[in-house]
């Protein structure tokens, strides 16, 4: 029932907005409102093209596994199937460099084998996870390898294999790598390549099964215990590091609301632990046409220079963009053969602010999304809002609302701006429209104080009259009783 209503609403919205040329409405664009219902929304990003290897002039890509945008603006693609790293110019029109042969310290040259991760630091070092050769290599832009990290020879490292997938490095040169079959978090190496331990491990959610297993194990013999399955946290599937050094991780198989996206500080603490947002699609999401139920399985995350977070979901083929605080901005993509849709296996996401790049290992393309006018308005407003410039944010939020009446954050933005201006009534109204009792409370507090100070004389007079009447009444009642009794 609600699905039909939503579809009808979407149709009306599309019909309405298509008449305005400046705002592009992608079909099926949606967002979540305050009550967690999927509502039709304006698109913040629009797929402009899907680039394949021939267009870049480097031959077809084969299972591109990772994409990274360096500080210089150039893009680096880990072309897994062709055993090479491709550097693409900032306009994303041609491949400016192809790295497939590297030279180590001794002058010997070697090839990559199935690279699955690429990271380029600000000082121009490439960190490549050479997955097929079980090692991570650090190289300069000329292909001279300065460091090779292989399987750690440490008691802490228990796995037989060493298969690095995605790799990042912080500004001190410490290397973080996601390893296949390791659930204890990302492997952490010092700048000399020494294995230091694990970082950003997930935790096991105490479900009924985990608890019952724990109790069973208390009574089991060693032999029985060894036959039982162990409860291990879900492994990290993707991560990124922001300018301030916080590491963002995503876990594909995690339950909604539990460690799906984490912002990990250097001490290993999750700063998104108490957040309200459910990252990815909410559990109840179901396509009303096909009846297909989608389950979110986040595979990669990217943080751009403004701190906005993009999550790639391989379960639904969607990209979710969140602001710095973790509030949903836009949802784009989907699973389809058209432009802007993905196959079963999108692999990585990279965001540069105005553009979002997604590699697809079955289509062998890089899909480019560009910010729409609506997206720009919202991003501007959101940035001003998060910087505390509520009044400056008022105009863009109003503009955003004009484009999309379902955009909850705009109501709250306007509410905050009006509150700052002292228009408590208006702030209350918009907080109610945005469905936030928290914002309503702040506005109401101001409204009440204003009302009391304005009507203080009337209120106090009212109370005084009430008290006097009370006294008179009591006095007379006593007299009356005495009269009756007497």
């Amino acid at each position: 029932m609600r699905g039909n209503a939503g579809a009808a609403l979407a149709f009306v919205c599309c019909a309405f907005f298509l008449s305005k040329a400046s705002y592009v409405s992608a079909e099926g664009s949606y967002s979540y409102n305050f009550y967690g219902e999927a509502v039709p929304s304006q698109a913040g990003y629009r797929a402009v093209k899907a680039v394949n290897g021939n267009e870049l002039g480097c031959g077809e890509l084969s299972q591109p596994a990772d994409i990274f945008c360096a500080d210089s603006g150039s893009f680096f693609i880990a072309d897994k199937g062709n055993d090479r790293i491709i550097e693409v110019d900032p306009d994303f029109t041609k491949a400016s460099m192809v790295y497939s042969i590297f030279t180590d310290n001794n002058g010997a040259s070697f090839n990559l084998s199935s690279p699955e991760g690429i990271f380029v630091s600000d000082d121009g070092l490439m960190y490549i996870s050479d997955t097929g050769n079980s090692r991570i290599i650090v190289s300069d832009m000329d292909g001279n390898v300065s460091l090779i990290v292989t399987k750690p020879d440490s008691d802490m490292y228990e796995s037989e294999t060493f298969r690095p997938e995605k790799v990042i490095a912080d500004k001190y040169g410490n290397i973080y790598a996601i390893l296949d079959n390791i659930t204890g978090g990302a492997a952490f190496f010092s700048r000399d390549g020494e294995f230091e331990g694990y970082y950003g491990a997930g935790s096991v959610l105490p479900t009924a099964k985990v608890i019952s297993d724990y109790i069973k194990k208390l009574f089991a013999t060693d032999k029985m215990r060894s036959a039982m399955s162990r409860s291990v946290p879900a492994g990290i599937t993707g991560f990124d590091i922001d300018k301030e050094g916080f590491v963002y991780t995503v876990t594909g198989s995690a339950d909604a609301g539990h460690d799906r996206v984490k912002k990990v500080n250097p001490a290993g603490k999750n700063l998104f632990a108490g957040i309200d947002t459910v990252f990815g699609d909410l559990p109840r999401y179901q396509n009303s046409d096909s009846g297909e139920v989608f389950k979110t399985e986040l595979i990669d995350i990217d943080v751009d220079n403004e701190g906005r977070i993009c999550c790639l979901d391989t379960g639904t083929g969607r990209v979710f963009q969140y602001n710095k605080e973790g509030s949903l901005l836009f949802i784009m993509g989907g699973r389809s053969d058209c432009l802007g849709g993905f196959s079963l296996k999108p692999t990585a996401v990279e965001c540069t602010g105005e553009r979002i790049f997604i590699t697809d290992s079955m289509k062998n393309t890089v899909t480019i999304f560009e910010e729409t006018d609506f997206g720009k308005i919202v991003h501007d407003a959101d940035k001003l809002y998060n910087d505390g410039k509520y009044e400056e944010a008022l105009k863009p939020w109003q503009e955003a609302l004009r484009c999309d009446g379902n955009y909850t954050a705009a109501y709250l933005g306007i509410s905050s701006a009006l509150l700052r201006k002292g228009d408590y009534r208006g702030a209350m109204e918009y907080a109610e429209l945005g469905g936030s009792s928290y914002h309503y409370n702040k506005a109401f507090e101001g409204y009440r104080a204003e009302w009391l100070s304005k009507n203080f004389s009337i209120v106090s007079a009212f109370i005084a009259v009430f008290i006097i009447l009370r006294i008179i009444h009591r006095h007379y009642r006593k007299k009356l009783r005495r009269y009756r009794g007497g």
Binding site: F34, Y35, M428, A431, E432, G435, S436, S437, Y438, Y440, N441, F444, E445, R448
Partner: protein, 209 residues
Amino acid sequence: MIELTEKQWVLHTVFHPFDGFEDLRFKKAGSILISNIVIALWFAGTILRENFYGKQFVITSVEDFSILSFIIRTVFLFLAWTVSNRAVCTFFDGEGTIRRIYIYSAYALIPYTVSLYVQVMLSHILIRDEGIFITLTGVIGILWSAMLIFTGIKAAHQLSVSKTVLSILFTIAGMIIIILILVLAAALIQQIYVFAATIIAEIEYRLKY
């Protein structure tokens, strides 16, 4: 002994939690009409608290409103309580009639009902920081009503304290059984209905072609 009108009896029982109901029983007072009014107010108060609460505390979606759930949570629950209590208390040699249980329980709910309205009123005046006063009102209302229910049941059946506690626990168990049986019955009736509807549809089909 005191002589009171029915309206005065209401206040007397509410403000004399220990002997109010004993007096009420002794005087054979208590009105079904007032009990019905109290239950109606309780029902309305619950709806008010869920849907007309101060927006600084919670903003509810009107779309999700279902009056059935409110009927079940108030009127139905109360009837189940009355029936279950009457059924259970025969085990404990309780001498309360169903009328008496109904009236005493309804009177006992007055503080809680009042607290609902006070809460709704306060929620429109206070802000979140002062929300503790609303919680306090609710706690007082519940505790007061719980005490009145206890003394009410005790007086209605002329039970000892320990037997009253036991009978209340049994009553709650009885309520659960009543609800379970009703749910089962509803499911069964639905299946019978579906069965009958299928047969009728089949017969119609055969007759037509």
